[in-house]
Structures are given as structure tokens and as C-alpha cells.
Amino acid sequence: MSVDPLGALRARFIERTRQDGDALETAFRSGDDAVVEHLAHNLAGAAGVFGFGDLGDAARAIDDAYAAGERPSSEAVTDLRQRILDLQA
């Protein structure tokens, strides 16, 4: 039986990301773009490290929007939120 050396770290990432997902949704609804941008940016950089490339891409789309001076669409945020809810180790 092989041991996944990142298994414990991945589990912590998932737990933290679920908490961040709650914060991201709340921040977007209240118009707190700084929080949304920060959370999306961090997720864009971290998700792929733990093997969740699609999640990272969804987060990067939101980060890229802010980098371009635009507000991400509610659809993009909803998509990211759902991907976070679907996260499993």
C-alpha cells in the first residue's frame, strides 16, 4: 500500500479551503472585493499544488479579472464556490 506524503497536508488544505469558500461567498455578496481577490489569488496558487488543477483554474479566472481591473461575474464566483463544496481528498 503506497503512502501519499501530501495526504495530511491535502486534508488540511481542503478543510481550510471550505472555510475560505464560506468567507468568499459572504465577501462577494457584501461587495468586499479585496477579500474575494485575496482568497481567489491564494487559491489560484495553492490548489494545483495539491492536485486540484480545475479548482485552481476557476480561482485564477477570478484573480485574473481583478488583475485586469474588473469585477468577476457572479457566475464565476458561484462556479468556484461549487467546486470548493465538491472538494474531496
Binding site: P5, L6, L9, R12, F13, R16, H38, H41, N42, A44, G45, A46, A47, G48, V49, F50, G53, G56, R60, D63, A67
Partner: protein, 126 residues
């Protein structure tokens, strides 16, 4: 392999943890991790002199470029190699970080199994 005392600065817990796992695969890297530019400056102003610094770009409060600017004013750190780490990969931003004095930029997400060798390559190429 040369021993390297490395200071890693990143506000994100997940990144610090996986980077610690990845960098400690290289037994010759002695790693110190801190969670903010301010914490990094505290260590450096107290006398810690790493051989290299791995520095996140986007951090709340004092960001990576701001941290670099401040640490360059500390005696003994004027030419310590700094590698930035960032999730934003646009070419113009990468060049900006090099223009600020970084010896290289590592993009996130990174491969944990090759992070140490990627860092060593950047440090060796300067």
C-alpha cells in the same frame, strides 16, 4: 550539495506547509518559514542572515516587493539572493519582479517534488 540557509516568507498556511515538505526533501536546505513580511524583517533585523530568501509577492500589509525594498537596507543583506513566488504569471509582471532585483520567479502552483531543484537552479544561474 551546498548547504543553504533559506528564509521562506508566505502568508498562506497551506503554501508554507507544502513548501516546507518540498524543501526539506533537500537535506542541505535549512529552512526558516515566516508568515509575513513584517515577521521576516523582525528575524533579519535581529541578526538572522539566510543565504537566500524565497518571498511571496502578494501578502497583506507589507507585500513581497515592499519586503525586498526594506530588507535591502539591512546591513549584510544588500546582495542576498531573493526569489519571488507568485500565482500571477503575466510576462510583464515577471519582468517587473526581476527589475526589482529578484534573481528569479517561481510561479504557483509549483510541483512539490521539484521545488528545491528549481530554487537551486535559479540561485546557481545568477
Amino acid at each position: 550539495m551546498n548547504e543553504i540557509a533559506l528564509l521562506h516568507v508566505d502568508d498562506e498556511d497551506d503554501i508554507r506547509e507544502v513548501a516546507a515538505y518540498a524543501l526539506e526533501l533537500d537535506a542541505a536546505i535549512q529552512l526558516t518559514s515566516v508568515a509575513s513580511g513584517g515577521a521576516a524583517l523582525e528575524q533579519l533585523e535581529a541578526g538572522y542572515r539566510p543565504d537566500a530568501i524565497l518571498l511571496d509577492v502578494m501578502m497583506p500589509g507589507l507585500d513581497g516587493p515592499g519586503t525586498l525594498e526594506r530588507l535591502r537596507t539591512i546591513s549584510g543583506l544588500e546582495s542576498t539572493p531573493v526569489v519571488f513566488m507568485t500565482a500571477r504569471v503575466q510576462a510583464d509582471e515577471r519582468q517587473r519582479y526581476l527589475n526589482l532585483g529578484a534573481v528569479g520567479v517561481i510561479t504557483k502552483p509549483f510541483d512539490p517534488l521539484s521545488l528545491a531543484s528549481e530554487l537551486r537552479s535559479l540561485l546557481a544561474a545568477r
